[in-house]
């Protein structure tokens, strides 16, 4: 919010529109969230009301000096790693510990779904790239960067799923075989895994 106000005074509806434009509406805001945040920022002295309400009763806000300092500090500091619950990790952790769950199927279902969204994101990016060539506007660039972030995140998730699947398969082979032969089998790879299953 502070970053958007750095461009100049603005009211809530406009701020929401600008945020959505910069992020391609990837994390849509509702106007209520925008106004409650503005209230909090005003209370903390980071923004102030600018002039009188317009004819529709909307109040414009501007950045205070404190707000500008806070904004600079925000850009200068790293983002701490995400602390929210990761449903997929939880699901896989439970899948390997719950009897009767086909972990490989859980992994594959997720992999196909993530790949489908990766394909959609790639298509969006191809379209956005073509637009960006036509006019090098910063709004388009912001959106491309957000798209890239989502693409790399989806890719990381698929790689992690591949890794999970390989680990689960290796663990299954070890359980099925006496300790002495397990190590030899895992180095030969898929061919002997196939042999062992027959």
């Amino acid at each position: 919010m502070l970053a958007l106000l750095e461009r100049g005074p603005s009211h809530g509806y406009q701020l929401r529109a600008e945020f959505d434009a910069a992020t391609g509406a990837t994390w849509p805001l509702n106007v209520g969230q925008v106004y409650s945040t503005l209230d909090r920022l005003e209370r903390d002295g980071l923004v102030a009301q600018e002039g009188e309400p317009d004819f529709e009763g909307r109040i414009a806000y501007r950045l205070t000096e404190d707000g500008r300092r806070t904004l600079r500090a925000w850009f200068a500091s790293p983002v701490s790693s995400r602390s929210g619950r990761d449903e997929l990790s939880i699901k896989l952790a439970l899948a390997v510990t719950t009897p009767g769950v086909d972990v490989t199927a859980v992994v594959q279902t997720q992999r196909s779904a993530t790949m489908t969204s990766l394909q959609e994101l790639t298509r969006l990016k191809t379209g956005a790239d073509a637009d960006a060539d036509a006019d090098a506007d910063v709004g388009e660039l912001a959106w491309l960067l957000v798209l890239d972030a989502l693409i790399f995140r989806a890719e990381a998730e698929i790689r992690w799923l591949d890794h999970c699947e390989a680990r689960v398969a290796r663990a299954a082979v070890r359980r099925r075989q006496p300790a002495g032969t397990a190590a030899a089998t895992s180095t030969v790879g898929a061919a002997s895994t196939t042999g062992a299953r027959r």
Binding site: R111, S112, L118, A166
Partner: protein, 238 residues
């Protein structure tokens, strides 16, 4: 354009039968790019070799533009390979003593196309992949990305309408790799059929469909399923 139906490939290795492919059904239509993903040993490369007539399945059918490769003599298969199929491998195999345009024209000359016409076709293929200006350069004087584009031009030259690519972005940095995929994608949008084998999810995402291979069998796919595919699938194992 390309139909694999019940394709099985077995090797005997150390007295044990290894199933490289087990009853694979896959149809790739003109204008479509299909990516094949799977861990090493899942049969990705065997599938591509079977599709390109470089390897013969133990059982099942491989149709390229309606022609069953299994029914052909070695010489006839070689002719289909040259005329209908373009290969892009990780290993570029450009001949260092030939210029870019000569490298690209070579397969056409082997097809018996006259030299001047082969050169014209080669120049058109180089232009299509955006490296027309490299025509007279030798491979040693090109960057890896430029060499890969020339190799793709060689795969596209002439009337070839089936494109098979095995990790075509292998040695390239991520931006150059994306350019190569853009070229593949554009060629497919212009009417070719493409099969791309890759272990990079971000590259596979350029495809219309992604097929997942495990232990020689297709386990799932993402993206839209074409009509002909579901017809074929009725004959296969559930």
């Amino acid at each position: 354009m390309l139909v694999l139906s019940g394709v099985t490939r077995e090797h005997v290795q150390g007295g044990m039968t290894v199933h490289a492919l087990r009853g694979v059904d896959l149809a790739v239509h003109a204008g479509e790019l299909v990516a094949v993903m799977g861990p090493s040993g899942s049969g990705k490369s065997t599938l591509l070799h079977a599709a390109g007539g470089l390897d013969t399945p133990t059982s099942g059918q491989v149709l390229v533009e309606g022609v069953d490769l299994a029914g052909l003599s070695a010489a006839a298969t070689a002719a289909v390979r040259r005329r209908s199929i373009g290969y892009v491998f990780q290993d570029l195999n450009l001949l260092p003593s030939l210029s870019a345009v000569e490298n690209v024209a070579l397969p056409r000359e082997l097809d018996g196309v006259r030299r001047r016409r082969a050169r014209q076709e080669a120049l058109a293929a180089l232009a299509e992949v955006g490296v027309a200006e490299l025509a007279d350069r030798f491979p040693d004087n090109m960057s890896g990305g430029q060499q890969q584009r020339v190799a793709i031009a060689r795969a596209l030259v002439g009337p070839r309408r089936l494109l098979l690519a095995d990790e075509p972005t292998g040695a390239l940095d991520s931006t150059t790799g994306e350019e190569v995929l853009q070229v593949l994608r554009a060629r497919c949008e212009a009417g070719a059929a493409g099969v791309l084998v890759t272990h990079e999810p971000r590259h596979a995402a350029w495809a219309d469909r992604v097929v997942f291979l495990r232990d020689g069998a297709v386990v799932d796919q993402s993206g839209p399923v074409a009509g002909a595919e579901s017809l074929l699938a009725t004959g296969g194992p559930a």
